[in-house]
Symmetry: C2
Subunit: 343 residues, 2 copies
Amino acid sequence: MRKLLFAAGALIAMPVIAEDQPARAPSEIVAATSKADWVAIASSDLLVMDLAPDAKGKQRRVVIQLMPAPFSQGWIGNIRKLAAARFWDGLSINRVQDNYVVQWGDADGEDKAKARKLPAGLVAVPESEYAISARAGPVNTLPKTVPAITRSNWSDIYVNHVEVTGPFRNQGWSGFSLGWPVAALSVNPRHGHEDSDTEVTGRKVAEVWPVHCYGMVGVGRGYSPDTGSGAELYVVIGHAPRHLDRNIALVGRVIEGIEHLSSLPRGTGTLGFYESAEERVPIVSIRAGSEVEGLPAYEYLSTESDSFAAYADARANRRDPFFIRPAGGADLCNIPVPVRRAK
Amino acid sequence: MRKLLFAAGALIAMPVIAEDQPARAPSEIVAATSKADWVAIASSDLLVMDLAPDAKGKQRRVVIQLMPAPFSQGWIGNIRKLAAARFWDGLSINRVQDNYVVQWGDADGEDKAKARKLPAGLVAVPESEYAISARAGPVNTLPKTVPAITRSNWSDIYVNHVEVTGPFRNQGWSGFSLGWPVAALSVNPRHGHEDSDTEVTGRKVAEVWPVHCYGMVGVGRGYSPDTGSGAELYVVIGHAPRHLDRNIALVGRVIEGIEHLSSLPRGTGTLGFYESAEERVPIVSIRAGSEVEGLPAYEYLSTESDSFAAYADARANRRDPFFIRPAGGADLCNIPVPVRRAK
């Protein structure tokens, strides 16, 4: 019964009664935003992956937005070099693990005789860069954005514990910064202790880091202290694996075409690796968006806009006609930042 | 580079050094459990869906475990009748929405002339059954299980708000009961007020309800007060849509073969519905497990066992060699209850 569906941010046509207008669905709030609420994404901050056509000859293009500074710039610099060197062209998607990740890179990378040579100039990025530390300075470059991550009514199981160490009281929270889902740890001095951390909305932010939501793109790595070069990338295609936060680098998110990855056959080997070369999905090319002719322009809804706040509130409290009981809160990863082709 | 992978509950071979043994991964803890920690699932509590073979002629079987009493039994009774009446045989999967759900039933259900007739004896279940209410009695049937849902160190954004109404103080939490992820609301009387709710670990449980994690199976419905008959079912194939909790009935979970659903091509119509009949995936049959010859026996790890507690702790604090920084907590839906073919 086609009417027996349930809505997920879908526009529901309802008779509008003036004195009892139904609350708007999140998608309706997004549709009603003004152009000024949207932020253009530079084509140079896009990564365009073209897979071999599917069995029916259909094109498969995946568009990735890379994170802005100050997040993960060491790995992102490597990724730009890898794309410029055409490193991934002719390589493949080698791993599809259900409810977890799709991963691509050099399937022969372990075999030194067969491995494709990495381009010159890649840097080794230290583990400290998994998060942005106030002590190292760069949180100071987020003066207008960090306040947006403070939603005291939305706690976050992955950072909401309070730790008291010495003269400090650490407290975690999460939200959005520069258009991205992030978590943060604040350090509140006890006994009037002061330090040099950035003061934001009465808290001193110690660390900010991006989080593993659906569609986020990260960097495969070996055992610590390896942090990965960026040659091996993965996309989250399941429930947010937040235990990976601060354990591995995040560099971007898929903004179009994720269905070409999430609907791939699952690998039957350990960790979802394909067991035969035939199963691997060939990558035709991965390019910076600025090198791709005819690529549409994209934009995201500013996470500092009132529209985003209204959208996030509606995601946390569904009052549109299908719902009978608003949740009163929402998981950070259940508030995906709207991204669209520019209008 | 094949070594550049990251572990998800995978067994990692590491040299074991006696004085510095690496912490066990969650999967290693599960592998080391004893038979006594596992609970057999009756074949009559399974639902077996056979899809038409895939393009390569490969069989596609999905095994679903139905929830035990006292959860959602009205809808589950209907589902047993629908399976016995072969209602779904020859119908199809009609909707695949990325990061959300796969849904099946009668694609012609809206067209009264074409709709398949429902079997006799289906009941209309009231919305009050989305949760188990202590006032109605059935929470009292969970005396040994409700304590297992109390993990005060794991808060839950979807229920962790505290509401004070009249002489009561409501507080939410979540955990596991009878092998299933659930959330609960407790009512703590203020000013020494007493009522007849079940007292559990010092709290008075008012309501318990199953939650929308990856792989959970629910009942499609129309607008309230419709709650769905059970003829239209969906499976979660993305980040847990917890905003649906207590808004729609959950009846089970996929315990084997979810990859046959999660890897289906996404529908391009509204809400991920397939736009043409050709795209729909034919259902050969859906049967109670007790009617399926040669079906393996299945069992789940008791959520009241010490093994489960150790497993959940390891999911929340990954100390196995790949991880450098344990999270200190875990989302309820990031602690999937282990289910296996019986050994």
